[in-house]
């Protein structure tokens, strides 16, 4: 049974978002690879690896967050991932690149959408950071 603590209201929507985002990308890796390429930070030789590996990682993290198991490690992973996404979006905006975020499926690039994605990412960083700090360290560590 779910214990409805404060963290539950954060981890379930956040985990759901990670799950949704991961499933969308698993279903269509080529548009996601195009999105990654638009950021111009990942070498073309490994874009395929990132496009194939990142969606299952989001799904795993999302599943952990929703289920509430290994919360500290899951929120740490979500925090790391969100920081990386934030840096990628920030550098794209700073360089004036027309990027397709590809965060929740692929679409057409637009600066407004990129700013919106960055805002959402900052919320994710705050939420995962808060979850990491407030979740208890496992006793067996």
């Amino acid at each position: 049974m779910i214990r409805w603590e404060k963290a539950t209201f954060v981890r379930i929507p956040m985990g759901g978002l990670f799950l949704y985002s991961g499933i969308l990308k698993v279903a269509s890796p080529q548009p996601f690879a195009d999105s990654i390429a638009s950021f111009e930070i990942v070498p073309h030789a490994v874009i395929g690896l990132v496009a194939l590996g990142l969606p299952p990682l989001e799904i795993l993290l999302g599943a952990l967050l929703v289920s509430g198991s290994r919360m500290r490690a899951a929120s740490f992973g979500a925090l790391l991932l969100s920081v990386v996404f934030g840096l990628a979006l920030g550098q794209a905006l700073a360089r004036g690149l027309q990027v397709d975020c590809g965060c929740l499926g692929s679409g057409q690039p637009s600066p407004l959408k990129t700013w919106f994605s960055l805002g959402r990412d900052i919320l994710l960083i705050a939420a995962s950071g808060w979850l990491y700090i407030t979740s208890e360290a496992p006793k067996n560590l």
Binding site: V26, P31, A37, G48, L52, A73, G77, Q108, L141
Partner: protein, 190 residues
Amino acid sequence: MAIGWHGPAPPETSGNSIIKKNLLFFAVLVTASLAVGLLLNLFRQTPLPIAYSSKSARVDQAVQEISRHSLPPASPVPALSDGVTLAQFSDFVENRRGIVLDARYRIEHQLAHVPGALSLPREDFAEAYAALKDRLDRSQPIVVYCDGKDCVDSKLVQKALRDLGYSQVAVFHGGWSEWSAARKPKEANR
């Protein structure tokens, strides 16, 4: 009697150690995800190549593939202007002055498209072209559209068609977004 270890409690774990453990766990997740991703890719109809090739490179490759099987004859028809405006495009569609092609993803086309438009997605160009080529007349003008002014798909399809010998190919730069914003008629595949 309780069974278990009753020794002294383990010492409080330091912050560094916790971060190391979390990083290790994250590395395990990354490795597992990569393995799952690569495994799933093996079962895809069109596996994603590890080395990325750009949208335009993929369309060029599709054109080369098509040309290898049937070399297009040179067309004597003069080239249509590169782009058309909304008014020109509306006239083109309403008066059926030629062929309208939708370069967006097939699913987007199925949901809604410009009336009479045929789907020729940039993503699956080779397959879509093979299915459509009998309906494409080299003597007829063609207008291609995609999502809007920021999308490159219509331009890439225009270039591919020109490479295949269709000289009268223009792009409606405003694309689906301008067409929808102007509340023009739409059609959907059922």
